[in-house]
């Protein structure tokens, strides 16, 4: 099979350029009105009878990255993820996968793309009830026309990776929710796609299993070198899994960044309310909480224990407690960048501290 990587090899895996999705017969008019008059969701519904799903979303997903899209129900995240493999056609804007526009891609190429490049895992798992676990996991391969023996081998491998080697010939109804979702994941990775779209896959699971699957998913994705777009309504989950997080509200992306960026510098009150309850202990790093050396007794700096910019608060607490001066020097490339003391740690934990120390 020849993959046409005509567009630059270093193009992002997924790129959305000002993508809109408005449901309804008068979506074009509605978008024009939103753009020119700044209509809100409610006015669009009453004036045009249209529902805004995605409101001018632009973002990229790079190779090897797990990109989380977090939003409450009705924020448009499920619509957005379906635009990426064109289960839903965008009203306006461009979606590029590996540098290729998929908006007007002919059906056979689109099928090819979905079969080989973009996999998907669904919230309610979507296992075919009349098939065994193995047959379910092999579904994508079967559709591609891969021979039975070969697809059974590949699907068995994928199921082994998610720890279901002993369940190959069971039916979905015999499995717990967590195990069913593992089958969903195995089915997605069996087709060996470069990108996996995860549509709230763990939302229906109980907290303990969810946590376990989150860790396994992240590990597996990184180990296989896959990229993922992961939809969730749970910020904790987004932080646990995502390399970068986008927060959606009313169809629009309010803020995009790493977990630390979003927690430390929420773009608006909506995001700030969201992150208020998030534990910062593993999230906030030395680089964000340290204070400038200027405030510290310079002569003593040399005697302090040192750490890197990436040490989290949890690690810093242990170090500060162990340090005779109750302070730690943050070092980058041999130079001391700042100092962390018990006071700066408390400020960092609390949240509304002074802006992070700028490197002098």
């Amino acid at each position: 099979m020849t993959r046409t990587d005509t567009a630059a090899a270093d193009a992002p895996l997924i790129e959305c350029r000002s993508v809109w999705k408005v449901f309804g017969d008068r979506s074009r008019d509605a978008i024009a009105a939103i753009k020119s008059k700044g209509l809100g969701k409610r006015e669009v519904l009453s004036e045009f009878g249209c529902v805004v799903g995605v409101h001018d979303a632009s973002f990229t997903v790079d190779k090897g990255e797990i990109f989380c899209i977090m939003g409450l129900s009705g924020s448009g995240k499920s619509t957005l993820i379906r635009l990426l493999n064109r289960l839903i056609d965008p009203s306006l804007g461009e979606v590029l996968v590996k540098g290729r526009m998929i908006n007007d891609m002919p059906a056979p190429e689109l099928r090819e793309l979905r079969a080989h490049t973009i996999g998907m895992v669904f919230q309610n798992v979507a296992l075919i009830p009349t098939r065994t676990v193995l047959e379910n996991a092999a579904f994508g391969l079967e559709v591609q026309g891969i021979a039975p023996a070969e697809r059974r081998r590949i699907a068995t491998d994928a199921l082994t990776r998610v720890g279901l080697a002993d369940w190959l010939h069971r039916y979905p109804r015999e499995l717990s929710g967590g195990m069913q979702q593992r089958v969903g994941l195995a089915r997605a990775i069996a087709a060996d796609p470069e990108i996996i779209l995860m549509d709230e896959p763990f939302s229906a699971l109980d907290p303990l299993i969810r946590r376990q699957l989150q860790d396994e998913f992240r590990q597996l994705t990184k180990q296989l070198g896959k990229s993922a777009v992961f939809i969730t309504h749970d910020l904790d989950e987004a932080i646990r899994i995502g390399d970068r997080i986008a927060i959606m509200k009313d169809g629009a992306m309010v803020q995009t960044g790493t977990a630390e960026e979003i927690v430390m510098n929420p773009a608006d009150q909506y995001v700030a309310d969201f992150v208020a309850g998030i534990s910062r202990i593993h999230l906030v790093k030395a680089g964000s909480v340290m204070m400038p050396i200027g405030d510290f007794n310079v002569a003593a700096v040399g005697a302090l224990p040192t750490t890197g910019l990436d040490a989290d608060i949890d690690a810093l607490i242990h170090m500060v407690l162990a340090s005779p001066q109750q302070a730690v020097a943050v070092v980058e490339g041999g130079n001391v960048r700042g100092i962390v003391t018990a006071r700066t740690l408390l400020e960092g934990l609390k949240g509304d501290h002074a802006p992070p120390a700028k490197v002098a």
């Binding site: 099928r111 979905r114 080989h116 996999g119 669904f122 979507a126 075919i128 009349t130």
Partner: protein, 274 residues
Amino acid sequence: MKEKALLSPGEFVAPVISWLNTNAHGLFKAISTGVEAVLGLTEAALLAVPGPILAPVIVLLILWRQGVSMALLAAGCMAVAGLSGLWVETMQTVALVTISVLVAVVIAFPLGFLAAKRSGLESALRPILDLMQTVPPWVYLIPAVMIFSLGKVPALLATVIYGVPPMLRLTTLAFKQVPKELRELGAASGATGWQTLTRIEIPSARKTLLIGLNQCILLSLAMVVLAGLVGAGGLGAEVTRGLTRMEMGLGLRSGLSIVAVAIFMDRLSRRALG
């Protein structure tokens, strides 16, 4: 004297029927001949081997494919029909039901499927189906007999009309019940529409589809018996004869044979396809 009816669709329908009779007689004659030929062939096939030989063969086949309990059930059902001395009539009824159900499914399945995908079609079909199911079957036997005269063809027509609604409704329900994510799975895995239909939708809809088929078979059987009134032959004719002659014995024997056919078809349709 009876009151004059203010609403009388018959005034319009009857002339249409007689117009059809005079002007499209050839067409109906051809349909009639065709249907009778197919029915005749099916009956001939079922009766080609005498009952005492055919029945054990069927029982053995079922024993092989479906196991002991189904085989015992089949043996019991066929024994009732055979020992009642109504084997030939039973086979006639089975032939008529089989062909009726095939025709009903061929009509109902595609329409039901389309109705599941297009809500407009579904709402257009609903009143027609209501009509088909609630108008007493005797009523549409009248035009059927007017066009095709007495015999098996009007019986088949009436039976199909009776058998289509349950199959159609349950087909629509079956496809509507397929979770949206399962349909999306097909597309998201790179499957074609046909692959999604045959490998995801139909298997997921199977249970409800089978209930539809089962209902179609049982209602068709009920109608075929009723159609004994218009000369459909088979067990229905025996029931009618028993009724008109007040022959308790004949009525009971044919009645039990009908029950035997019903149980046999019901259980087998559930098992063989389930």
